[in-house]
């Protein structure tokens, strides 16, 4: 077990996560998906498509991969940190945080409502544990993560910083500023993940702003690049573990993760139409019938 060698950082090491089986993770993912569709249905707003698509990733990170402490501290010394750059998929972030113990699961019922800590897009203003920066206006999260990763290096904190971006988000110029910077500065304690679902609000990414080969682009910028299936927990975990093995070698790591928008709910899958639309009562019931959990613990 690595001890912090930093002089100015004195915090307790968070508890090591118990190793959960793939079967257990699948149950958790199903429960999270139930939360997502119920949350957006309750307020008839929010973004279910991308949230469902990234559920497996967030479950893998928070319930298997990351060392993190639900007894939240903003600075997160000696913990792995996760930043959500595509803040509109807040439902999956909130559900996973709540179910990891950052705040009561019952609070999910306040999503997008007045006086809630669960804002439409993640924010720190209301003090929601687990959120370290506001996101929503796209393109900023990679830069934030690069900054946090460099702070860890200065603090001689050897944990990892993770950041998730949408593929549509890569239209933003700032992403490429950060993509150029991170290899130049050898920010090699950083794993960036792109949710490659091929959809953005106005249509497919091919049609709106063709990204071409992201592998070729990021490799040309100096990143180590992995590709994986973001809706297959076993492959995803193997890829994230492989990504961790590539850290500390002078290069940041990029995981290009193919997902289905709306994954888990057949009628929401593969279409940009469910990017920012909530299900009606009938559609909610239909979705919940597909998201089965042995012991459902809906909020």
């Amino acid at each position: 077990m690595s001890q912090s060698s930093s002089a100015n950082v004195q915090t307790e090491t968070p508890p090591v996560q118990q190793e959960r089986s793939i079967a257990e993770l699948k149950q958790i993912a199903s429960q999270v998906r139930r939360d997502i569709v119920r949350m957006v249905h309750a307020v008839n707003s929010g973004h279910p498509g991308g949230s469902l698509g990234c559920t497996d990733l967030l479950v893998a990170l928070y319930f298997r991969i990351m060392k993190h402490n639900p007894d939240f501290s903003m600075e997160g010394h000696n913990e792995d940190l996760f930043f959500l750059s595509n803040g509109h998929i807040s439902p999956v972030f909130y559900s996973v945080l709540a179910r990891s113990g950052y705040f009561p699961v019952s609070e999910l019922a306040t999503f997008r409502k007045l006086n809630s800590r669960l804002q439409g897009h993640p924010a720190t203003e209301e003090g929601l544990p687990g959120v370290r920066i506001a996101s929503g206006s796209l393109g900023q999260g990679l830069s934030v993560a690069v900054g946090a990763a460099q702070a860890k290096k200065l603090n001689k904190d050897d944990r990892t910083v993770y950041v998730l971006m949408g593929d549509g988000e890569l239209n933003e110029g700032q992403v490429w500023e950060a993509a150029l910077y991170a290899p130049h500065r050898q920010v090699d304690n950083l794993i960036a993940i792109v949710d490659r679902n091929g959809q953005q609000i106005d249509g497919s990414t091919k049609e709106i702003m063709n990204l071409g080969s992201l592998r070729a682009k990021f490799e040309a910028f100096g990143w180590r690049v992995l590709e994986t299936d973001g809706n297959d927990l076993e492959k995803l975990i193997a890829s994230l573990e492989e990504a961790r093995q590539l850290l500390g070698q002078g290069q940041p790591v990029m995981v290009l993760m193919d997902t289905q928008m709306g994954a888990g709910v057949d009628f929401m899958m593969g279409s940009h139409k469910w990017h920012g639309v909530a299900p009606n009562d009938e559609q909610l019931e239909k979705a919940l019938q597909q998201l089965l959990v042995e012991e459902a613990s809906d909020y």
Partner: protein, 318 residues
Amino acid sequence: MKEFPYSESKDTRSGFGAGLHELGKTNENVVALCADLTGSLKMDAFKKDFPERFFQVGIAEANMMSMAAGMTIGGKIPFTGTFANFSTGRVYDQIRQSIAYSGKNVKICASHAGVTLGEDGATHQILEDLGMMRMLPHMTVINPCDFNQTKAATIAIAEHEGPVYLRFGRPVVPNFTPADQQFEIGKAVMLNEGADVSIFATGHLVWKAILAGKLLAEKGIDAEIINIHTIKPLDAAAILQSARKTRCVVSAEEHQMNGGLGDSIAQLLAREEPLPLEMVAVNDSFGESGTPDQLMEKYGLMENDIVAAVERVMARKK
């Protein structure tokens, strides 16, 4: 009228550079980020002595701002350095979301503000920055007047938890404030007590206000001159106390009339004590190329402009 002796003229940006270097020695959490303007921002000394805490980000200001926000999460106190234009307008959304709304402890240090940037012209001469920064919740906005005050302000903001916009400039101006001053954020500095008119000035216009005070004294007008180095939070108590005494007010700043110090004072007076106010500021116009002195004159920011404003406002006094 008091005398304000000084032994030399210096640029305020060098005050920032000196303050930052001092912080490098005293506060190990201070880090500096610069967008390819290290020499212009006078960050060389910090870079030389604390290379591991200096981050050259290239010409990528958006990345710099969000990255600075990320560094605070590890307990660092980032000072970003670039021109005022690229520190604000170019990166407003990054500042708004990643820094102000997220309440991050970033110090946005902005040089070459206003028309005194000179020959480069209006593309680089921002006159709207104070307004943009003052509108953001959680943001503290500071515009010191000379080398010593800028150095003191730079050191003081490291101790202040929360986002700060620190504005300074390119030209040399008389360095008249004390080298050993304690900089108090949000606390106006009384320079000259007077009975006939209150002049509230900020940044480079503070020295112009002192020059105006001398011209006014020759005309038998006893001006009170106050340095408002902090635009936000505004020292409402000091401003109201002076205004209630003199019954008329002039503001002076190297900034647009819209959104700046004058606007802040107008809001305060309208709410608390409606009194005549004249504003010395740029009137809804972009700048242009020229020498700093030529531009200050053309855009109405000289001591004689303050004198004229005083005469107008005293004529309106009841």
